[in-house]
C-alpha cells in the first residue's frame, strides 16, 4: 500500500490537478470568510467563523477531488495500467484514498490559516474585537477535516459506482447543492439524516442538529460509502 500511496502522490504532482483543487478550496474559503466578516452587521467574535461557514463548499470541493481521483482513471483508461501493476484492488484503492486524505488534511490546514488571517485583516479593518482563536482553530480544524472526509468518502464511492466524471459530478452537485438545500427548508427531519447536513452539524453550522448526532451520522456515512466503494471496486470488470 505504501507503493500505491507513493505512486498516487507522484501523479498529484500534475500542476493542473494540484493547483486547481487547492485554488478552488482556498478561493472558496477566502470568499466565504470575507463575506462572513465584512457583511455581517455584528461580525462574529470567533475568527474561525468564516472557515466554519465555508465548510459546506469546501466539502463539495473535497468530494469532487476524491471523485475525479477515481473517475479520471476510468476516463484516461489508466485504471487498467494501474491494475496490471497492482492487481490487489483493495490495496490500490486504499493507497489512492490515503493519498487523497493526506492531501485534504494539508489543504484544509492551508485553508484554515488563510481564513483566519483574512478574518483578522477584515476585523482589524472594521475595528471589531475578536476572542482567542487558537483553541477554536484546533477543534475547528479537526471537525472540518472529519466533515470533509465524509464528503470525500461519498465522492470516492460515487466515482467508483458511476465511473464517469461528468455524470458523477452532476449527481453530486445536484444532491448537495439542490436536494439537501431544499430538504433543509422543507423537511424537518432532513438535518438528522442527510449527509451534507450532518457534516454541517459536525463543523458547527448554526441551525444544525446537535454535534454528537452529526458525528454519529457522519461516521455512519463514511463507513457506508467506503464499504460500497471497496466492494464495487474489487468486483467490477475493468473493460474500458
Amino acid at each position: 500500500m505504501t507503493r500505491t500511496f507513493t505512486a498516487e502522490l507522484m501523479k498529484l504532482r500534475r500542476p493542473r490537478v494540484l493547483y486547481g483543487a487547492l485554488g478552488a478550496l482556498i478561493g472558496c474559503t477566502i470568499l466565504v470568510t470575507v463575506l462572513t466578516f465584512a457583511t455581517a452587521p455584528t461580525p462574529p467574535e470567533r475568527l474561525t467563523a468564516g472557515f466554519t461557514n465555508a465548510s459546506r463548499l469546501v466539502g463539495v470541493v473535497v468530494l469532487v477531488v476524491f471523485l475525479t481521483g477515481v473517475t479520471t482513471e476510468y476516463g484516461l483508461g489508466t485504471l487498467r495500467t494501474l491494475l496490471l501493476r497492482q492487481p490487489l484492488r483493495d490495496r490500490l484503492l486504499a493507497g489512492k484514498a490515503l493519498a487523497l486524505v493526506v492531501c485534504t488534511a494539508g489543504a484544509l490546514l492551508v485553508a484554515l490559516a488563510v481564513s483566519v488571517a483574512s478574518a483578522a485583516v477584515v476585523t482589524a479593518a472594521r475595528g471589531t474585537p475578536t476572542g482567542p482563536w487558537l483553541a477554536d482553530a484546533a477543534t475547528g480544524y479537526a471537525n472540518a477535516l472529519l466533515a470533509a472526509l465524509s464528503y470525500g468518502a461519498i465522492g470516492l464511492a460515487l466515482g467508483v459506482l458511476l465511473r464517469s466524471t461528468a455524470v458523477a459530478v452532476g449527481v453530486a452537485l445536484f444532491w448537495f447543492i439542490m436536494v439537501e438545500n431544499i430538504a433543509d427548508h422543507t423537511w424537518p427531519a432532513a438535518g438528522h439524516v442527510l449527509p451534507g447536513l450532518l457534516a454541517g452539524a459536525v463543523t458547527g453550522i448554526p441551525g444544525s442538529v446537535p454535534y454528537s448526532h452529526g458525528l454519529a451520522g457522519v461516521l455512519v456515512y463514511i463507513a457506508l460509502a467506503v464499504t460500497a466503494g471497496f466492494i464495487a471496486f474489487s468486483r467490477r470488470d475493468v473493460s474500458n
Binding site: A7, K11, V238, S239
Partner: protein, 242 residues
C-alpha cells in the same frame, strides 16, 4: 531458446455481456518463448480475452493459467507480465519517463530500468516531454516501454499497430521481434493477419468469440495457398454457420 512449457493456457474461457457471448469456450495454448499472433476481425473478442488473461475482466466460465499460475490469482503472475491493452493509457500532464516512474513505483520495480526501456523503443530523447505532446506512434511505443518494465517473461500487446502508418507498422514488427529475441514470450493481437503473420511462429485465430485455428503458423500455410486466403475463408465459413 524455446522450451516446451506453456506460457498461457485456457480451457472453456467464456465471457458474456448480457445475452451476448463475446468469448465462447476458448481453449488456448501458447508455448513459452514464441511470438504468438492473436488474430480476428474487430469485435471478435480479442481484447476481452486479453483482459481476462490479465485479471481485469472476470470470466463467466472456464479456467486458465499464465506462467503456470491460475487466472484467479493475477497477483501471482502479473509481476512477470507486461501488457499494452487496447490503446496506450497514460497521464497526459506527466512526461513519458514520469509516467513510467509511476508504474515502476506502483509495481515495486527499480526505476533505474526506465532509461533502458525508453531507449529500447526509441524514446530516449523524448522521455522528458509531456505525454500529451507525443504522436500516436510515440504513445504506442511508450505503451510498449511500459510493458517491458520489470523484465517480464510474457509480453501482451493488443493491436500495437493500430493507427500506425506503414513505416510505423514495420518498426513495430522489429520491436516485437527484438522483444522475443530476449527470450520473452510475446502475444500480439491484430485484426489484420498480414500485419502479424511475418513475425509470428504461433497463431490463434478467433471469430465471434470462438477459436477457428490454433497452431504453428506453418500449419495454417500447410493447406497450400496464401495465409490471407485461409484467414478469409475461415470467416466466410463461420458466417455461413451462424
Amino acid at each position: 531458446m524455446r522450451d516446451m512449457t506453456t506460457a498461457i493456457s485456457t480451457r472453456g474461457l467464456t465471457k458474456r455481456y448480457g445475452a451476448r457471448t463475446v468469448v465462447d469456450h476458448l481453449d488456448l495454448d501458447v508455448p513459452a518463448g514464441v511470438v504468438a499472433g492473436f488474430v480476428g476481425p474487430n469485435g471478435a473478442g480479442k481484447t476481452t480475452t486479453l483482459r481476462m488473461l490479465l485479471g481485469l475482466v472476470r470470466p463467466d466460465a472456464g479456467t486458465g493459467s499464465v506462467n503456470g499460475v491460475p487466472l484467479t490469482q493475477p497477483a501471482g503472475y502479473l509481476p512477470r507480465v507486461g501488457a499494452l491493452i487496447e490503446s496506450p493509457a497514460f497521464y497526459p500532464g506527466l512526461s513519458g519517463a514520469r509516467n513510467l516512474a509511476v508504474q515502476a513505483t506502483l509495481g515495486g520495480l527499480d526505476p533505474a530500468g526506465i532509461p533502458a526501456v525508453l531507449e529500447r523503443v526509441g524514446l530516449a530523447a523524448r522521455g522528458a516531454s509531456s505525454y500529451q505532446s507525443y504522436s500516436l506512434g510515440m504513445r504506442q511505443r511508450l505503451g510498449i516501454a511500459a510493458a517491458l518494465l520489470g523484465d517480464p517473461a510474457l509480453v501482451v500487446l493488443d493491436e500495437p499497430t493500430n493507427g500506425l502508418d506503414p513505416a510505423g507498422i514495420r518498426e513495430m514488427r522489429g520491436i516485437v521481434r527484438s522483444i522475443n529475441q530476449d527470450g520473452r514470450t510475446v502475444l500480439v493481437s491484430s485484426h489484420l493477419l498480414a500485419e502479424v503473420e511475418q513475425v509470428c511462429d504461433w497463431l490463434i485465430v478467433i471469430g465471434e468469440g470462438r477459436r477457428l485455428f490454433q497452431g504453428p503458423t506453418r500449419d495454417l500455410l500447410a493447406g497450400g495457398g496464401d495465409l490471407e486466403e485461409h484467414y478469409l475463408s475461415m470467416f466466410t465459413s463461420t458466417e455461413g454457420t451462424s
